[in-house]
Symmetry: C2
Subunit: 216 residues, 2 copies
């Protein structure tokens, strides 16, 4: 059995954050398919009890323990392995600050916007879609400005903070509705730097699950 077993599925950018980290860090890991898109497995009481009360993917199994919340998993893995770890207390603070911003304002709205526009079975309310897009764009602008004079979120080298922002960045425009080359060139250049890392793979190549065509 691999050192790390990641319960994940291809459409989950939050799972991708951890899958991409494990792969780029060269750790011994395997994906375990969670059939979330087929509906409800993460809401199943047995999954919740065994894995996490929050009912979310990803869940990482390692050394007999289960870990949920991608930002906490990334923080723990960096501390344990030293890979893509912040250097010292000030950088650790900065990584956590950006991971929280990602969870609160960036991934949260981009993920929800993408799901509503591409995968929600019934057509989403246009006002809700516009609201979510209007919430994500200022967060994107913050990151775009931050990357104007930095190669990666903390500076010259990639850290766990970059893996957090990578969550939904590599899904196709047909899903996210965003052409980052067009609206956020610094972020798009950062994407190319991330994609150049050894071990980088597209979410649909890295994690199990059928690619699903956007429903609209």
């Amino acid at each position: 059995m691999s050192d790390y077993r990641l319960h994940c599925f291809a459409q989950s950018g939050n799972a991708y954050k951890v899958a991409l980290y494990l792969n780029c860090a060269g750790l011994d890991w395997e994906p375990v398919f969670v059939d979330f898109m087929a509906g409800g497995v993460t809401r199943d009481p047995a999954w919740r009890t065994a894995n996490n009360a929050m009912g979310e993917a990803p869940v990482l199994e390692h050394a007999g323990k289960s870990y949920s919340q991608s930002g906490a998993i990334l923080t723990m893995l960096a501390e344990k392995t030293g890979k893509f770890a912040p250097n010292g207390a000030d950088e650790a603070y900065e990584a956590l600050r950006w991971i929280l911003f990602d969870n609160h304002k960036f991934t949260s709205f981009l993920a929800t916007y993408r799901f509503q526009r591409a995968f929600l079975p019934n057509a989403p309310d246009p006002a809700v879609l516009a609201f979510l897009k209007g919430r994500f764009e200022p967060a994107l602008n913050v990151v775009e400005g931050h990357l104007a004079n930095r190669a990666f979120i903390l500076g010259d080298w990639p850290t766990i903070a970059d893996f957090s922002f990578a969550g939904y960045a590599f899904f196709p425009e047909a899903e996210t509705g965003f052409d980052f080359d067009d609206v956020a060139p610094n972020f798009a250049a950062w994407k190319r730097r991330m994609a150049a890392l050894a071990g980088w793979q597209d979410p649909y190549d890295l994690m199990p699950g059928e690619k699903i065509a956007p429903v609209r």
Copy 2:
């Protein structure tokens, strides 16, 4: 000058997380009023440059440094002071996991729902309001279930994770639209335990800024 200076305003639950922590921890702190509700101060380039590129309150000044993101501030303060600190690595993981969940799913939706329904100058779109409420409720249910057999988020004693969930919990029902005694009795009981801590104060007593009547 106080050891800690917290840039905050009474309506900000994210600022309240830190203000309440500082007060309950008995630290030497003072609030510095950020007139966010009057519009735009946190979007001012000077504030952003001096304090934080994310343009958010709160910002904590301590020993010549500025810190933003309430979850990162709480984590740093617990490490520095030992007050309301998780005990050991497993609890530190658990605290971070819940702080991330709070930022991603709990505070985020409750804060936005409250602002839209109580303070947005123009009437919000009913579909957006319903969406935000519908997002917050499952997060509340997760916390409600978790508190069924625990006094506080990590167990018998309050930690920084509790201060995170306290952010918007104490604003009046006229603002949040939630009567927690009615819909989440475990959470309401947890609120009473938090309110019994030495140093607890209502957000409108603890932080500067006029109380503003909900606009609708």
